[in-house]
Symmetry: D3
Subunit: 242 residues, 6 copies
């Protein structure tokens, strides 16, 4: 089975970190292919960048020329998943949904700890649209930007742990979701510090994608995610930036 | 005052119809500028096309080289408004929100009549995200595609009136919102047939945009719609398809 | 176009302040007529007084003997708007709804800052009934009574700014609505202090009322706001207190 | 114990029917006093009439010159209960709330069958404000006006039973609330026909009012229903129409 | 009239306290019978114990061999009420619902003060399922276990009063519900200290049960609470532990 | 890895069918152990039976004397999962949650098709408590009892397909969840007939349980599902019926 794990930003090192983390939990026989979009921001932290990423992710996946069995969109709270679901016949799993969905099997309420405060409403909105909001205790921001997670891992860890602790003690979260693809790998450390299960959306998404494939299930094509109707489209297929 | 009215698709005749309809209700002294995106689908009827339109609309607005006072995104239930709000310092009004917001001043519940069934969930989701869902009685599809509205106006009118009547009698709507930018101009005819107020989002959006400008109000920049942080972005500014 | 702006209390100086503020944003050609009810409390701060105001406002509007194009009910969180909508064929705009509806075009969430804590639940309930609650971050009380706003403007300003700041920093509001007709005129000062858009319901209502008239839209008469059926009514038309 | 049961309209025969029905379930030692407002409509079927009734009921109760232990507002879905709660120190029970609250002890979902379709949104809104909406399966209108219940009891019975049956079979209601003070006495007949518990709000309200008195409980005065602050009020105490 | 008041735990002294408290508010002619389950935990503070109690309460009621008119399940936030409703033809009143339902007649919002933090989610969930959650301001834990209420009444009183005060001042509760059957008798003391109405679910349930019986109302048998279908059941009727 | 799949009823043939179906999708190296409770109903179709099953399932799992890695509770809409989560340190997956959670990755809305109408409210309530209700289009009953699924498979298939079709065409479901453990094996047939993905909760639960184990995740023990406190419990450990 081959699963594409698509980064939402153009920072190659994040793609590699995500792919490593995905491969680490993949079943024997599952090949993880990390993809970096051909265009877009080096880190995605807001609506404009997220909308651009939505198209860049679709572009990257559609220009991948080998067969694959599922796609993971590895951005937290980003736009675009529904477009991929229309374009593809294989399952599409967003890490935001994967983490929340998994969290709900482990505790009565969960919180998300993410990067900048400005991304909190995006995550809240995506969880609402996905129908996974009801048991969300809070979405908290560590105040650190995506790329700071890469460059200052220790400071990032402290900031994330601090918010995770507040989520547990004040917001009554019983599970923590790491709210950024770039946080892959921090889960075990934070679990030790907070005492509650910590979920990395990327690894959760890998097991969900594998499960859907194994069960022979894929996106329903009867309505919302039906294949696009034939259209005259200017600028697509795109390879926009090449 | 100059207001940009941006079509979400690349069909120039629709842009013109929308702009005419906008100009017709504009105050003396308001100049309406209709814009057609440089890329994207000739009609937008689903998530993939809508996400592409989101970027195409932002691209078109950002490459407009004259000053302007407000922007109207003239697509019903489409993605992208939040991105424009980040990129601009002038008010941005989506016609989906404009119609619903206006409807709520006129009746206890409103319905939207749109084109294809597959776009119903998109509209519902946008209304939910905008906080305008509570008084929505239903979103109904006429079953006609966007371009059929142009090519078969009489048949379109009948199909839309039929759904509007069901919305009033069965769903208890007291106001009807025309759920497609391409329906501009049908409101008066449908009002005569159904006996309830009928709202065209484009004209509603013009009065709202003018009002915001007149009141000196614009998008809040403290959190969700803050100006994007400086980033390395590949492929933007885009002029993707040029 | 003539718009009646009806105060909900019997304090004439408040009527005048509201009318001035309304006239200041009105379009050329719009005449603002400020009306003071013939009976009721000198300030409205609770359910009993608000119910009395509801009838007093209807009484005052119905006894106005000139033609008019729209009515603005200038009380925040008060009862009665639905009654006016039944009795009239012109649009009725409540400033509570006008402010909230306008706020939602400017930010992801808004807060209301009002006078006394006891009126908070009334405002919350009116916003819920109007379907405008979803994006409300909080309703906060400055602790100052309506008439204190008149008599101690500087102290009122400080108290309102303080709550507005808490709304932004703690409740994550991105827009502030001034929750009292008597706050008309404070918006600019508070905007300077808080950095977020501040909405005065009276001025917002003027632009909305003008817009509805311009679009040829008025209250739907098919169900909730249908004209009252012929009845034997004791004590109405009332001129209760004259 | 003396309980005032206040009709919301000025039709004396309805007051008497309500009072008889209340007295029939009252405990030994409970005196029921039926009161008719001094002003207002002969039947209340909409917002204007309901707002007028709100004040008329408060006026009538405040001008009652004997001691009493509780007040029942005997109109379904009417405005005003909150005003009475501010003015009085004894418990106030609205029959809308009483019926819904009682229904929820008997079945998983309940429906209300009322008179005219135009009153359905009023009832829905009152149930929402009272926090009793969650388990409401539907509010259905028999299409008969309040006074027709008096003049054509057999036809009214059939129309109400028909809607009750639809509520049970289609809306999955397990309990029926009679949505009009004027329906007092029909409950047993409808129960026989539909096979589900049928609740008359007046009788339910009597037992609730008695219970509150017996438990020594009354309206909380700390916030929403605090006694009105001292004010200059024109036209009150009113005796408006006398 | 005979009302069974069933403790959810096996501590006989709690049964007696509950029964005394119930008898104290019962009408003349109402006989209160306190029942202790034959099996289960000496105090119920979590899901496992609560599920065991659900069956133990059903077992105890079904093995009671005298006629009775209503049953009160005297545990706060416990499972099982729906099972009793299926098995019996007389009304079943849970004290969680009784307290919340009563509170809603007295204030705009209520809070529950319970024992341990771990039981808060159970209570919240039961209120949600019962449709009584909308006006709940908060559920707060005193941090004291059920049996500590018995053994350290003064310390318990202080802890409960403290949380009640926070509920009023911070969460804006206007009424307090005592969230534990074992708190019976504390209501008056706490009312004096907090100034808001305090509701003991057991006494509220007695008046509701009496009211339902008096009105001739009982559980609807058409759907959710229909009598169980004939089945082969191993181990029931149980007398599990005897 | 060993996963216990616990039937909620005492019909051994259903346990075997469930276990077969579970084993069929299990990963190599996963051992499925089907368990039948020692007591309870031969089919569970209502609250009383479901509460009894809750305890019977806990009893059966606790008396299993070999190590295991996860537990699947194989009843649709049943009580008890929270109790198991308290008692165990390994993940617990309910098939109701597993099916709904999986469905949400495949379509915008899902419906459940279950057995008898009386169980519909139980399923709805469980989905609400699990936070998985938002995207549920409907829960529909085929009208066939659990055991009829076994004895009349063809008639059951037709009835279930019919409801599934109505769910898709009328309720706008894009995915169907089979709402009964006893429906295991029907999914492929129904998928062919309806054209939408069909989810069997048992197989979905197997992949989720395996995923949780693989990710090293288990139930959070900080609050709702903390291990029960030491108690004096009569009749437990039970082996009630042996």
């Amino acid at each position: 089975m081959r699963i594409l794990v698509v980064n939402v930003n153009t920072t190659e090192s994040i793609t590699q970190a995500i792919a490593r983390s995905a491969q680490a939990v993949a079943s024997p026989g599952t090949e993880i292919v990390g993809l970096t979009p051909y265009f877009g921001a080096d880190s995605v932290e807001g609506n404009f960048e997220s909308y651009l990423a939505a198209i860049a992710v679709m572009d990257r996946v559609m220009s991948y020329d080998q067969p694959f069995d599922a796609v993971i969109q590895a951005g937290y709270g980003e736009h675009g998943r529904e477009g991929l679901q229309e374009l593809l016949n294989v399952p599409v799993v967003d890490i935001t949904d994967a983490a929340a969905s998994t969290a709900m099997f482990l505790g009565h309420a969960y919180s998300v700890v993410t990067t900048l405060d400005r991304t909190v409403p995006l995550i809240e909105d995506r969880l609402k649209l996905s129908g996974l909001w009801d048991r969300c205790a809070s979405v908290r921001a560590s105040g650190l930007a995506v790329l700071e997670l890469e460059h200052e891992p220790q400071r990032a860890l402290e900031a994330i742990v601090h918010q995770a602790e507040l989520a547990v003690t004040q917001d009554k979260a019983e599970v923590i979701c790491l709210g950024c693809g770039g946080m892959a790998g921090l889960d075990e450390k934070i679990r030790q510090r907070t005492g509650v299960p910590v979920i990395d959306g990327v690894t959760a998404a890998v097991t969900i994608a594998e499960s859907l494939v194994r069960l022979g299930l894929s996106t329903s094509k009867v309505r919302t995610y039906a294949t696009p109707r034939p259209k005259t489209i200017i600028g697509w297929p795109a390879r926009f930036a090449r």
